[in-house]
């Protein structure tokens, strides 16, 4: 397992947990539960920032740590992530419209909620695709 795989696994664990918490908070819908879920998600999301910059540092260094193959894998994974995130946006928007119905009003915060859901789906899918394309968790170059 190389460093990039370890980063992807770390991101996947955090993003998938955040996604689950977000979905649970949407189902429960109680304001204190939502607040607690938001705080937990924020705490879980913070480590993703240094993780992103660490990967960026590896990408800038290049060489054996981030070669053409790694670049190709990460580009494809990012594209998959963006496509899934857009599908989530599409479904979340239309399902909300169908459930709430026309002629009603929705809170502005829902837009940001949809964005957060999309971001989580992006990170989860991207990390999962990176791991899958490297051939699973246990394979890959040793670093």
């Amino acid at each position: 397992m190389n460093k990039l795989q370890k980063i992807a696994l770390f991101n996947l664990c955090l993003a998938a947990t955040c996604l689950l918490i977000k979905l649970l908070s949407l189902l429960i819908g109680d304001p204190p539960v939502k607040l607690a879920a938001s705080i937990i998600m924020l705490i879980l999301y913070l480590p993703l920032i240094p993780s992103y910059f660490y990967r960026l540092k590896l990408a800038i260094q290049g060489g054996s740590k981030y070669d053409e193959r790694d670049k190709s894998i990460h580009t494809t994974a990012a594209l998959y992530g963006l496509m899934v995130a857009f599908s989530v946006f599409f479904l979340a928007t239309l399902l909300t419209f169908l459930i709430v119905g026309p002629g009603v009003e929705i809170k502005i915060g829902l837009m940001l909620g949809i964005f957060i859901l999309g971001a989580m789906s992006f990170f989860t899918t991207e990390s999962a695709v990176v791991l899958v394309r490297y051939g699973g968790i246990c394979k890959g170059e040793q670093s």
């Binding site: 857009f86 928007t93 909300t96």
Partner: protein, 144 residues
């Protein structure tokens, strides 16, 4: 011009044409009746975009290929760029709405399907423009 450049131009022309006739219809109807309901029918030309997969498939030269590795890379980059652009625009517009209207206020639910529709059009425009920019904007590009 290869197939993807032609398709990008095709997308831009159809979308621009639709935007122009829809806007004109809404403005004229609004001027006459004071409200507009007919605008929705003028987005029908967008159906033409569904025929993209059947268009420009024939190579221009005998034995030529329709697309190669470089074309695939250009399409991938254009798609990634359009998705990224969409998310940035969505995030910024959500924040602006939140900022100007206020966090406790609401918007009508019809905003949601309109948002999806606008997102689809926006991404198609950005993706087509990104394809043309990557190929060099003009009539350059390999003849296939």
């Amino acid at each position: 011009m290869n197939r993807y450049q032609k398709l990008a131009w095709w997308n831009l022309i159809v979308i621009t044409f639709t935007i122009i006739i829809t806007t004109a219809a809404i403005v004229i109807e609004f001027h006459i009746r004071g409200y507009s309901t007919l605008g929705i029918y003028f987005i029908a030309p967008l159906v033409l975009l569904k025929f993209n997969r059947f268009l420009f498939k024939k190579p221009q030269s005998e034995g030529g290929v329709v697309s190669d590795e470089r074309d695939t890379l250009i399409i991938k980059r254009a798609l990634a760029f359009s998705f990224m652009a969409f998310w940035w625009v969505f995030l910024i517009s959500s924040f602006l709405l939140w900022w100007f209207i206020g966090p406790r206020n609401s918007v009508p639910t019809i905003t949601l399907p309109l948002m999806v529709f606008a997102a689809g059009l926006f991404m198609k425009i950005v993706c087509s423009a990104a394809i043309l920019v990557q190929y060099g904007r003009t009539w350059k590009g390999e003849q296939l």
